[in-house]
Symmetry: C3
Subunit: 332 residues, 3 copies
């Protein structure tokens, strides 16, 4: 019943506030810079530079994790957040006996922060190395079109343990969520990271998969990440979201699909916010891979929506008991 | 040459008309309600409540189906439709000797209508049970963003036969399309439901896959649903659609991809409308999974576009004959 | 270090200019035509008709390719381009001893240009046959919605060699990119075609996968195509794009996901433009399938971003040497 992806939230929010960008309001679109070999260039990063240290550690059960302080590594690692324009300087301390790195999706980095053996960008055992991730706002390309900014629900992962693509590191838990927000984006009350990797969720199988908890009406942000060798589809019961950058609609003309099931394949990620139990009430709601042999085999967990005051809703204890006791057996 | 997914259309359109919402025009966006623990809430359902009875029945060949009257079960089940704001009250009669349920995607339901054994929401053999599905319009979240409404091309399926995820029920045919329309959406002339499940289309293999028929220029709505354990891609020859909620563009600034091939994986669904043969003429057009071993193995069928007056276009008989006779053999 | 998909660019651009449509500016939306059995019809094709000859040839190593002149066949074939409204008349010369065809995605064609044995539309060994591909602009459906036009990053492939779905032809290299542009779309400086098929990229495995080259700041267009029997995810290091028709945003209200990893499954295709090295600098950047066993097994290549003057950036030679020498071995 623990939810390891929840606790880093406090830290990351505090970190965001320290940069002073949390209260920012309007969407700022960078004006194009002239005198440049190509049509437009991003404005200088308006945001702050944040420096953090991440510790890669060996964990019980053959797992490895990233953590924001010694002895605090988790699977998945902490949710890292920034606003478009911010820079994140990560000092990665490799406390393990394995070669490893940290490779981000969605942000800008030079080859020496690529996190790949191809670019000799990794930490040898015991080594400390700094990786710099930059981000940017959209900027005018030509006519009315814009080259995209960095905002998105991204992720980071090892790219060096076992093979040149980090296959062993990813398999053992070296992954986490990275969020780049656009100024004015709505902030959530809670965050859950869900990583589908082979037949596991956050390297666990039912009934030991994370139980994510929220109170009725809380704004919950889900970050879903795919890894490994299998294809998956993420499904959440009784809640849905728009299949776009934020999970919300920009208005009646927003053409986005609204969905409650989405492909979650290796290297992909997406995120969305729901109001817990909104329109459906509290209860033990399932989230699971919709590939039948995967959900039957243990890729399922519970999203526990408590009453607004935090108390348990009727039937939820029984549902949790059923899940822990005899889920995932064949029904005769 | 039958098309089982076509016949329920009559019934569902009649049902929609009975609720008096078919003629509704403008897009209605619900205003936020104040005095609520979270930023916005959906307006009260403006729509009607419709009550239907569905019979789950055993069919020849080990199949099971849902039907709107005794002895009328089909694979896939009937297309169910509602407008955002409507409520559907389904009395499910289990005429079989198996535990089963009906679980929807995309709509709102309380835990006792979840259709899952986790929430003790299923029909024992011979049991009758009522499931309530509600829907809603988008509503303001904060700033300019909206929490999505229920409109979409969804589906329903068993979640209780064989395993706690309904693996046996889904494998045997307990699935169907559910459409939630937004007021003002364009209604089609015909509807086809295509379910990709393992190596089959609507639990059949070529040349026994459904042949869908329309006359040149008719507005045809396709609802594609994925189930099972394999990944698939749905491809339709000579027609294409926008990869958004309706399959049409909202105008020149709608950024949606236009596609004719789309991933159709377990638990996912999408829909779109095409004008039959528009720009390409009548004929026997293929629809198939684009995974080569799947199409070669029998995941292919014919979309027969007749002349505008319903007569057969030149070459179509020969194409159908080829399909029935020697498709899916190795060409030496 | 060759890049076969680059050279056809010259030809296709010249061909486009010959039709006189390259300079066209504003987005033209076709007005609906009255007196028609369905709500709207596309305007007459405003564009030109272009006639080309394509030679299907047998290549060394058991491969087959399409080429725009005798002895010029490549894997993938040439990038074919047109503007919405244009017609492409392709005379396909089958110089091989196998039955084969050319089947396009995204454009309009009659049954005799379907390229499928179902419609008796293929070239017997030694045979020459003409296929006609038409395209169109979006046109008003009803209310404010538009039936989509043909613009998109599409592809073409054999549909007749080996099986009725062209399984052998596709496996042996008979595929290529087809781009339909909307008037006013931004044109690139370079184009790269990437086809993921089984465990290969453009029918090659690392380190023999194509190395795509550009100078810092060049506008590079990627066209990614999926084929075969496996699922894949295309990932590009240090660059990203909007998951919509153009890969660019229409402005701050464009809700599209911004991504750097996308499902690339059989029959699907997408395209996007990036500014080479923009915000990250020059270097040897990886592109690869993000399925771990696939990238480890050889589905990876290098996007070499040179300095703006074409010279080699620091570290790039070493990275290329590493890639050619000892990538894709297990790291002990
Ligand atoms: Cu799965
Ligand atoms: Cu398939
Ligand atoms: Cu792959």
């Amino acid at each position: 019943m623990d939810h390891p992806a929840g606790s880093p939230r406090h830290l990351s929010r505090r970190s965001l506030m320290a940069t002073g960008v949390l209260a920012a309001g309007a969407v700022g679109v960078a004006a194009p810079t002239l005198g440049n070999p190509f049509a437009g260039t991003p404005a200088q990063a308006a945001g702050a530079t944040r420096r953090i240290t991440i510790y890669a550690e060996q964990l019980p059960g053959g797992l490895f994790g990233y953590g924001l302080a010694p002895g605090q590594a988790t699977v998945p690692g902490p949710v890292l957040e920034m606003y478009e324009g911010d820079t994140l300087e990560i000092t990665l301390v490799n406390t393990t006996t394995q070669r490893l790195s940290i490779h981000p999706h969605g942000v800008d980095y030079s080859t020496d922060s690529d996190g790949s053996p191809l670019n000799a960008s990794f930490n040898n055992p015991g080594e400390t190395r700094t990786y710099v991730w930059r981000s940017r706002e959209m900027f005018l390309a030509s006519g009315r079109r814009f080259m995209p900014g960095s905002a998105g629900y991204w992720h980071y992962h090892d790219h060096a343990m076992g093979t040149d693509h980090g296959t062993a590191g990813v398999a053992k838990g070296l992954y986490g969520a990275l969020i780049v927000r656009r100024r004015g984006d709505i902030l959530p009350d809670k965050q859950f990271t869900v990583v589908f990797h082979d037949m596991m969720i956050n390297n666990r199988m039912a009934p030991n998969t994370p139980m994510f908890e929220a109170n009725l009406g809380q704004r919950v942000e889900w970050i879903a990440i795919g890894h490994g060798n299998l294809f998956h589809t993420f499904h959440l019961h009784a809640h849905r979201w728009a299949d776009n950058r934020t999970g919300m609609l920009e208005g009646p003309a927003d053409p986005s699909h609204v969905i409650d099931n989405k492909d979650l394949n290796p290297g992909s990620s997406f995120g969305f916010q729901v109001l817990a139990g909104e329109g459906v009430g509290p209860g033990a709601w399932m989230y699971h891979c919709h590939v039948q042999t995967h959900s039957d085999g243990g890729m399922a967990g519970i999203f526990l929506v408590r009453n607004a005051d935090g108390s348990m809703p009727p039937g939820a204890e029984e549902a949790i008991h059923r899940f822990q006791g005899h889920t995932h057996q064949q029904h005769g």
